[in-house]
């Protein structure tokens, strides 16, 4: 049955765009989802396998029907193999993103990528020292080249653990990972190993397969951390900015360009070039009084929001809505979370969909390949294409919803520690720890992940944050989770005033005052894109090290209330391995196996301290997370 329009989203701007879609009979993700229903229960429960040519096989969860595949794999093996491949795909994606950055950093260091200078030398040196690259008396380019080579070395199979994993977690975690044999020695080799062990006739022990998935997820973590580090080195470590969110950020009288996808290698350069006078003059000559207006979508939107104050138009599930405003002149994409359907929606308008990456082309889109060697040139060409498209706008089709919210963004680890240093210069973490101990901060919840058609857009996020904030839980957010919070006004000091419990409000106000904001910090500390979940780990690791405990003892939890991608599965898995109780708000395809379900939701706790909490009801989910934080506080001898 098709959802009524109100059930699709809580976001007024998205709903307004969907109204247009309905009237003009343009199909969106919600229509395609309705057409897919009912979705196959075998897939929903993980009970199908296409890993060999004797298949496809399905296992019936009922009395009737097959209990094993042609090869003899039972439900446990099948489900474990399926979820393991999802983790591997996520790792491959973040790995591809990080590797792209490492290659570019090397080119930058060798003088082959003039548009990518090292913008944050302090971060370069900090990363270099952490991974054992000498910095004293050396030129920046030499250090950068060594860091880039170390990064690239992390992709193949090494004799030693992954540098970007081993140097960024607690000692206790490394010992735990070694104990269970889940330390990856290469990002790409971890993906490859996962594919190997889940192919026809290899690993048939479901628990062993899951340990393999954890190993691969730790490679995903390393890739995320590397992507964050290298982005900061090339484009600057984010510090707080104030910007706007939601579809109202599109301007009727400007050439509107949306940057969608993930890697700042593309989006940051387009953002830089969009400020050039000559291009803005061209835009004005074409009739756009306000020149060029760049907006973000999805994770790359987070990257440019943090570093260039670029407003966020919307999140991934509602990406089509940006085109439905009729005022978008170009949608520029790189890779990941780009719906192929964009091409069809763009065809109904003057909007140019521009693909840029050799591995991510879409029929009917314009492909302008992006090369590091002449990045700004490619970016200028993209912007000129948008200006040309602007001339073909149909005024009758323009419908920009008048919805915007203010959003404070860009709380990198460095920025958070910097803000805390204003309260206590000698020992910046002390105020945070003291307040956790005193109970003013009951715990910390990192919100991550996507929006999904399976949940009314933003419904889980908006319910959970209110429940947690009033119980004094400090909220961190990345990726499309932060997009949801930004679009609903939670990334503001006003939200702190309105929703934070008294303890949390006092802490956020004290730090905000010290930082000269004249009020509290925003209710949500926005840490960046999905790879930037690594930043949250950095904060947790610093706190754990300071306290002399390991991550699995801290009252820190993670939640992906509306997840979609295989990347989210990978991140969730490493969050569990890192010791975090991790909530997911949709049911993953594992229920077909009792063993796998039990390992992920319970036995993992005995091994790593972290485990999955599957709860589709947001109020119940918040309750469960509060209870877990209480348990952990008790464990540390704190008031629960």
């Amino acid at each position: 049955m098709e959802k009524s329009i109100k059930e699709k989203s809580l976001d007024r701007a998205t709903l307004s765009a969907l109204d247009i879609a309905e009237k003009t009979k343009i199909r969106t993700v919600w229509d395609r989802y309705a057409a897919q229903k009912p979705q196959c229960g075998f897939g929903e429960t993980g009970l199908c396998c296409r890993h060999c040519l004797q298949g496809p096989c399905r296992i019936s969860p009922f009395e009737h029907g097959a209990k094993e595949g042609v090869c003899g794999a039972n439900a446990d093996v099948m489900v474990a193999r399926g979820i393991s491949r999802a983790v591997a795909a996520g790792t491959a994606s973040h790995g591809g993103h990080a590797k792209h950055m490492a290659h570019t950093l090397l080119k930058s260091a060798m003088g082959e990528a003039p548009d990518y200078p090292i913008r944050d030398e302090a971060k370069l040196k900090a990363v270099a020292e952490r991974i054992g690259v000498k910095t004293g008396g050396r030129k920046i380019n030499e250090i950068a080249a060594d860091v880039a080579r170390m990064a690239l070395a992390d992709f193949s199979e090494k004799e030693s653990p992954l540098t970007w994993a081993a140097t960024t977690v607690t000692k206790g975690r490394v010992e735990t990972f070694l104990k269970y044999g889940v330390v990856p020695t290469g990002i790409d080799s971890a993906v490859s190993e996962s594919m190997h062990r889940t192919t026809y006739g290899v690993d048939a022990d479901p628990v062993n397969i899951l340990l393999g998935a954890i190993k691969s997820s730790l490679a995903d973590y390393a890739a995320c951390h590397m992507a964050t580090d290298l982005a900061d080195i090339l484009f600057g470590t984010p510090s707080p900015v104030v910007t706007q969110a939601n579809l109202g950020v599109l301007k009727k009288d400007a050439v509107n360009i949306a940057l969608h996808g993930h890697n700042p290698l593309l989006s940051d350069i387009v953002a830089q070039v969009a400020d050039e006078k000559e291009l803005n003059d061209k835009a004005r000559a074409a009739g756009a009084r306000e020149g060029i207006n760049v907006v973000g979508v999805c994770c790359t939107g987070n990257e440019v929001m943090m570093r260039h104050k670029i407003p966020l138009a919307t999140s991934s599930v509602s990406q089509e809505a940006v085109i439905l405003t009729g005022a978008l002149d170009a949608m520029v994409v790189d890779y990941q979370c780009i719906m192929p359907a964009l091409a069809g929606v763009a065809e109904c308008y003057h909007t140019r969909l521009i693909t840029t990456m050799p591995i991510a082309k879409i029929p009917k889109a314009l492909h302008i390949e992006f090369h590091e060697a002449n990045a700004k040139e490619s970016a200028r060409k993209i912007i000129e294409t948008a200006i040309e498209a602007f001339r073909k706008r149909d005024a009758a089709k323009i419908n920009i919803p008048d919805v915007t919210t203010t959003a404070f963004a860009g709380f990198s680890t460095e920025a958070i520690v910097g803000a805390l240093a204003l309260v206590n210069k000698e020992d910046p973490l002390k105020p945070l720890i003291d307040n956790i101990v005193a109970g003013n901060i009951y715990g910390v919840c990192l919100f991550a992940g996507c929006n999904t058609v399976k949940v009314t857009q933003d419904a889980n996020y908006t319910v959970m944050i209110k429940e947690l904030a009033k119980r004094n839980v400090l909220i961190l957010a990345t990726g499309c989770a932060s997009g949801a919070f930004a679009r609903h006004g939670f990334m503001t000091p006003e939200a702190t005033e309105k929703y934070a419990g008294p303890g949390l409000k006092a802490v956020l106000t004290a730090v905000g005052q010290a930082a000269g904001l004249g009020g509290p910090l925003p209710l949500v500390l926005h840490m960046g894109s999905c790879v930037d979940n690594s930043r949250a780990v950095d904060v947790a690791v610093a706190v754990a090290n300071k306290l002399g405990v390991d991550l699995h003892m801290l009252p820190v939890v993670a939640s992906a209330p509306e997840p979609v991608t295989e990347k989210a599965v990978a991140i969730g898995t490493w969050a569990v391995a890192a010791g975090l109780p991790t909530h997911i708000g949709v049911v993953p395809p594992v229920l077909g196996s009792k063993v796998v379900t039990e390992v992920l939701t319970s036995a993992a706790k005995d091994l790593f301290g972290g485990y999955f909490i599957v709860e589709t009801d947001p109020v119940a989910a918040a309750e469960k997370l509060i209870a877990v934080m209480g348990e952990r506080r008790k464990g540390l001898g704190l008031s629960a």
Partner: protein, 160 residues
Amino acid sequence: MKQIFVRPELCMGCRSCEIGCAVQHSKDKTLFSAVLQSPPPSPRLFVESAEGIKMPVICRHCEEAPCLNGCISGCLYRDEKGFVRRKKERCIGCWSCIMLCPFGVITRDKDKRIAVKCDRCHKLDVPACVDACPTGALVLVDIDEVPKEMRTRVVLAETR
């Protein structure tokens, strides 16, 4: 008389029955030629879902069939096995049968402009949809044995 029974609690919504049906009603009756056929063959039963329940909705070949009663051109008839079938050449596309079917399982062949419905795979011992179902959500049962089976289940439930 054997009837197709639907057990919604066993349906996974995989739509294998729809595929099996469409293939059986394709030219070559094989999956791979069926997927290449143009226009593609259409299934005569439909997996639907509401409120979290999934189930195939199928033609019941009703004893007092509204579609048959309403057919004004003499296209629909009851065959010797009791199945409600079509004499295709007689269909005039008035869609009375579509209006009258309480299950919504008669549809339109947009190409040939005639009504399409389940023929209970009259040439087969086991209908294609039942054959394709991997969980037993669709079963072929003797209608006269069903009450007896039900009574046994009632007794079992009482004694447990």
